[in-house]
């Protein structure tokens, strides 16, 4: 939560400085941003390599747990299709790309800015931050209405870290472990899916 607010702070101070025209020729930053993105992707990859929990979880729990992140993907796809039909005038590629962040707002918004444009990147930032925020706020209600798996599904990629404490507390320890596994798989899937959507659609 605190991390999201700091990130939002950096984004908003960028917006403010851009409004004030203090920094001339902001478009010059494009090249720098490309290299920063490559470095970010490399260190994100390293962070994934550091963490060997998911293999252990897959061994300890039933293999059916692998269906959880798959169904988050299917549900997100279905929801994005519905949003695309509702909004009416957006390219399907853009809607699917924003949805495929699974709550991982930092990486998805940065990648979408690079592959799409700043408007779409900002949309991805807001969409994925609100997915995380609503998961945190509604986790107890989701558990009561739909069962322990519901906040894991809602949290998407965030269920391995930011929304893990609340999932473990209201859905129980076992769903906390499922949440870590599902979140890790989706975290890896975000850059791959976003790249695939913007390359081939």
């Amino acid at each position: 939560m605190k991390g999201s607010l700091i990130i939002l702070g950096f984004f908003l101070s960028g917006v403010l400085l851009g409004r004030l025209d203090i920094i001339p020729r902001a478009d010059q930053a494009g090249d720098l941003a490309s290299w920063a993105l490559y470095m970010l992707l490399f260190v994100v990859g390293m962070g994934i390599g550091f963490d060997t929990r998911s293999f252990r979880i897959l061994r300890e729990l039933h293999v059916k747990v692998a269906l959880v992140p798959l169904f988050v993907g299917i549900g997100t796809l279905g929801g994005s299709l519905a949003a695309w039909a509702l909004l009416g005038d957006m390219p399907l590629r853009d809607v699917l790309g924003v949805g495929a962040g699974f709550g991982y707002y930092s990486l998805s918004s940065i990648m979408i800015t690079k592959m799409g444009d700043a408007a779409l990147g900002s949309m991805a930032l807001i969409a994925n931050i609100s997915r995380e925020l609503v998961t945190l706020l509604s986790a107890p209600l989701l558990v009561r209405l739909f069962g322990g798996l519901a906040p894991v599904m809602a949290g998407g990629a965030t269920s391995m870290d930011t929304s893990l404490p609340i999932i473990a507390r209201y859905a129980g320890e076992r769903y906390g472990i499922i949440a870590v596994f599902s979140g890790m798989v989706l975290t890896v899937a975000v850059p791959i899916l976003v790249t695939a959507i913007f390359t081939w659609m």
Partner: protein
Amino acid sequence: MIVEIGCIAVGVPAGYLLRTRPAVVGAVDRLTTWSIYALLFLLGLALGSDDALVAKAGDIGLRAVVISMASLAGSVAAGWLLQHVLLRGALDGPGAASPPPLGAGTATAPALNHAGDHATDHSGDRP
């Protein structure tokens, strides 16, 4: 966009090999955090300095909320289908899933710490 995937694909084995070195892990965490700050600041800058985009900010936000809430609802629905129709409660496991009391203590990353060798605790610190 083979370069993007390539960067991650090279990073994962590098991270796996270096996962027991706290200095590397710490440096990677800091580098991740600050490159995210920098890139989102630049995104804000690009948005703020573009008058046409600022004029559309409300529209962008509304669309974002529609997409995220539809995705969240779709995921919860898919999870319900998985749990109650396809698996019929198989994820609950033996002796689990009694509804937790509302005042239960704060539980973080339960039962994962016992097995040991993950080098960092990422909770609350998404890269």
